[in-house]
């Protein structure tokens, strides 16, 4: 089924909130497509160590590595290092060494690029764009960072380019008060109030930070635009990975609507770790078979798993009803945690049907 979703697609973006098995699903999709002859790269951020080991990724590294697995196609994987990607981007955009060094050694840059949330999201999109431009793979699968709001990452390029956008930069770095005059008295007053709220030192440091970016801001802005074009392109497919829990339904419906509003190509929903249970057992038969005590325990255990299965069923029916014709794939709760190639292969039969 996934194969149909990804027909003629070059990029598959797996989104969803944390803890739903997004990294695992991304890896299983990538492995499955490689097993069907494609050259695939999966980009992931900080997966659990055993999955990384299974994929043959030793540590953080910004290079794709070939995963040692016997498939007709090729499976490559990389773990994103947000800070290093950011540094590489600066090196790429900087017109000369002096500008590059000024930014990389700037105190504010060092604090913000490494420590603070938001840069990971942007860098994931950035790397995706870069690999897509290079065109070395049939398919790229992106495991998006675990944000609580599954769509935060879509805003990242715009937010970052606005941050270093020339308009706010000019305001802060224009010689004298000329820049402020151009933008009108309201801004000038706001600027002086801001000095009171933040202190003049911080504003001067910020001004220097923006100045260090120099002519690069336009490059960043264009780049953000191209990332957004890639997201909206017909060769891109968004896949929502979700759990069959009640709170996931609202999230799924919201995600679907937002993507449609933004004109982004939504392929379908993967409901992961769905509880499945068979029919109804006969209490007396279990007692006869196993003895009264053990029979009762088995009956109770079965009844509980059936109740959980009924809950998942009802939740998924509700989601299906609200998403109407959106395709949905269900992956049952597998016995063990999936954390190796064998586990990924077990998911294959459900994902690819």
């Amino acid at each position: 089924m996934i194969e149909d979703w990804l027909e003629r697609k070059e990029v598959c973006i797996c989104a969803g909130s944390g803890g739903v098995g997004k990294t695992t699903a991304s890896a299983a999709i990538a492995l499955g497509m490689a097993a069907r002859g494609k050259k695939v790269a999966v980009l992931t951020i900080d997966p659990a160590r055993r999955l990384a080991n299974a994929l043959g990724l030793p540590e953080l590294g910004n290079e794709e590595r070939r995963v040692d697995v016997d498939v007709p196609g090729e499976l490559w994987a990389m773990m994103l290092d947000a800070k290093r990607t950011f540094d590489e981007l600066i090196e790429w955009h900087a017109p000369d060494e002096r500008t590059r060094d000024a930014v990389l050694s700037n105190r504010i840059y060092q604090e913000l690029s490494g420590a603070v949330a938001g840069s990971q999201e942007y860098m994931a999109m950035e790397k995706l764009h870069e690999l897509n431009q290079e065109g070395r793979y049939d398919l790229l699968v992106l495991d998006t960072p675990p944000t609580r709001n599954a769509l935060d990452f879509l805003e990242a390029p715009r937010r970052l380019s606005e941050f270093i956008d020339s308009r706010s930069l000019q305001l802060l770095t224009a010689p004298g008060r000329l820049g402020l005059k151009v933008l009108g008295r309201g801004t000038s007053v706001a600027f002086s109030v801001m000095k009171r709220a933040t202190g003049i030192d911080l504003l001067q440091d910020l001004a220097e930070f923006f100045r260090s970016f120099g002519d690069m801001t336009e490059g960043f802005r264009q780049r953000a635009g191209r990332v957004n074009e890639l997201l909206a392109d017909r060769s891109t497919a968004f896949v929502l990975v979700t759990s069959p829990r009640r709170e996931a339904i609202d999230e799924g419906v919201y995600f679907h609507r937002r993507l449609k509003d933004m004109g982004l190509p939504f392929a379908g929903v993967i409901a992961n770790r769905v509880q499945v249970a068979g029919g109804r057992a006969n209490r007396r038969e279990l007692d006869d078979l196993l003895g009264a005590g053990l029979g009762a325990e088995v009956y109770d255990s079965y009844a509980r798993s059936r109740a959980l299965a009924a809950r998942d069923r009802a939740n998924l029916d509700e989601m299906r009803r609200r998403l109407r014709r959106t395709p949905m794939i269900e992956v049952p709760h597998l016995q063990d945690d999936v954390h190796d190639i064998a586990g990924l292969r077990r998911m294959d039969e459900y994902l690819f049907g």
Binding site: S17, G18, G19, V20, R49, R50, L51, R107, I108, E111, L112, A115, V116, A117, G118, Q120, P146, T147, R148, N149, R159, E162, F163, D165, R167, S168, L171, L183, T187, A190, F191, V193, M194, A197, T198, G199, D201, L202, D205, E247, A277, G278, G279, A281, N282, L286, L289, L290, L294, E297, V298, Y299, S301, Y302, S305, A307, A310, R311, D337, H339
Partner: protein
């Protein structure tokens, strides 16, 4: 439970909100006026407690237990009002384009003001003049973003160096690292990846922030239903019944195997973390509510 602020952290999907709520119920039972802080537009507590919409203000979930949904924009306005000591100036700045660009886009600003609001809720003298709580419990975002939230004050203290932002950020950072004031509860599941992430969280809190995990809470631990002898009997006799009976036995054995796998992970966790480890039972209730939260609070009461 004797701190002023407790941060509930852990991997996504492990049940942080549930554990935060149970901790809140326990604190309130012990007579501490407690506020649960939801961040990043989660707003799940009201649903859990069956209370109508949480909204922006303080909502009473249970006697002595309140919730606040922390909105960065609103927290920013409150901060400006306090900083400028003038609602009019704060409005002017908050409404300006220049300021809007900088704050909406600068990485970490929303984390900083969110943490500022949480800090304020934990103070005996509220800066914003709101009601005073004995304890604030924050339901933090998943590990990476949770760490970003806790490190934002330090990052901005370093960026600003001097001036009002540096002062404020350093104050919050010091409060977070003061072990008598702030505690961290790390929530985990007895599974491979959540255990790894919990171990990692403890290490990173220590290395990056100089903070410690005070208590690990392992959520959704399956009951130890069948002993080894019983499991053997199930495997021996299970295939003799009807199809339905066989399916039931298979399901029971699957639960048994899962419970055994959980125990292995629990042992691994015990060995790998320095904080004490508490366990909470798996809730078989399809949609847990107030009654189940009270059960979890009962269990926590025995431990904490």
């Amino acid at each position: 439970m004797d701190k002023r602020l407790v941060v509930v952290a852990g991997k996504g999907g492990v049940g942080k909100t549930t554990v935060a709520a149970a901790l809140g119920l326990l604190a309130a039972r012990r007579g501490r006026r407690t506020v649960l802080c939801e961040v990043a537009a989660q707003e799940r507590l009201a649903g859990l407690f069956g209370v109508s919409d949480v909204g922006h203000g303080e909502v009473e979930l249970a006697p002595g237990l309140f919730s606040v949904s922390v909105q960065p924009e609103q927290a920013m306005r409150e901060w400006l009002r306090h900083q400028l000591r003038s609602g009019a100036l704060a409005g002017l700045l908050g409404g300006s384009r220049l300021f809007g660009y900088l704050t909406a886009a600068a990485p970490g600003v929303s984390e900083l003001v969110t943490m500022g609001k949480v800090w304020d809720l934990a103070q005996l003298e509220r800066r914003t003049g709101g009601s005073v709580f004995d304890l604030a419990i924050v339901d933090a975002p998943a590990t990476g973003h949770g760490l970003a939230l806790m490190s934002a004050p330090r990052t901005y203290a370093n960026i600003a160096r001097v001036g009002p932002i540096a002062r404020q950020a350093s104050l919050i950072d010091a409060f977070l690292r003061d072990r008598s004031a702030t505690g961290v509860a790390a929530v985990a599941l007895p599974e491979e990846m959540p255990v790894n992430e919990t171990v990692d969280l403890e290490r990173r809190l220590d290395e990056e922030l100089g903070m410690e995990v005070d208590q690990v809470v392992v959520n959704a631990v399956l009951p130890d239903r069948f002993g080894a002898d019983e499991a053997r009997r199930l495997r021996a006799d299970g295939h003799r019944g009807s199809d339905a009976a066989q399916a039931a036995v298979r399901a029971a054995l699957a639960e048994h195997d899962r419970a055994r796998g959980q125990r292995e992970q629990l042992e691994r966790l015990h060995a790998a973390v320095s904080a004490p480890v508490a366990t909470l039972p798996y809730l078989f209730e399809p949609e847990p509510g107030r009654a189940e939260l009270e059960q979890l609070a009962d269990r926590l009461e025995e431990i904490l």
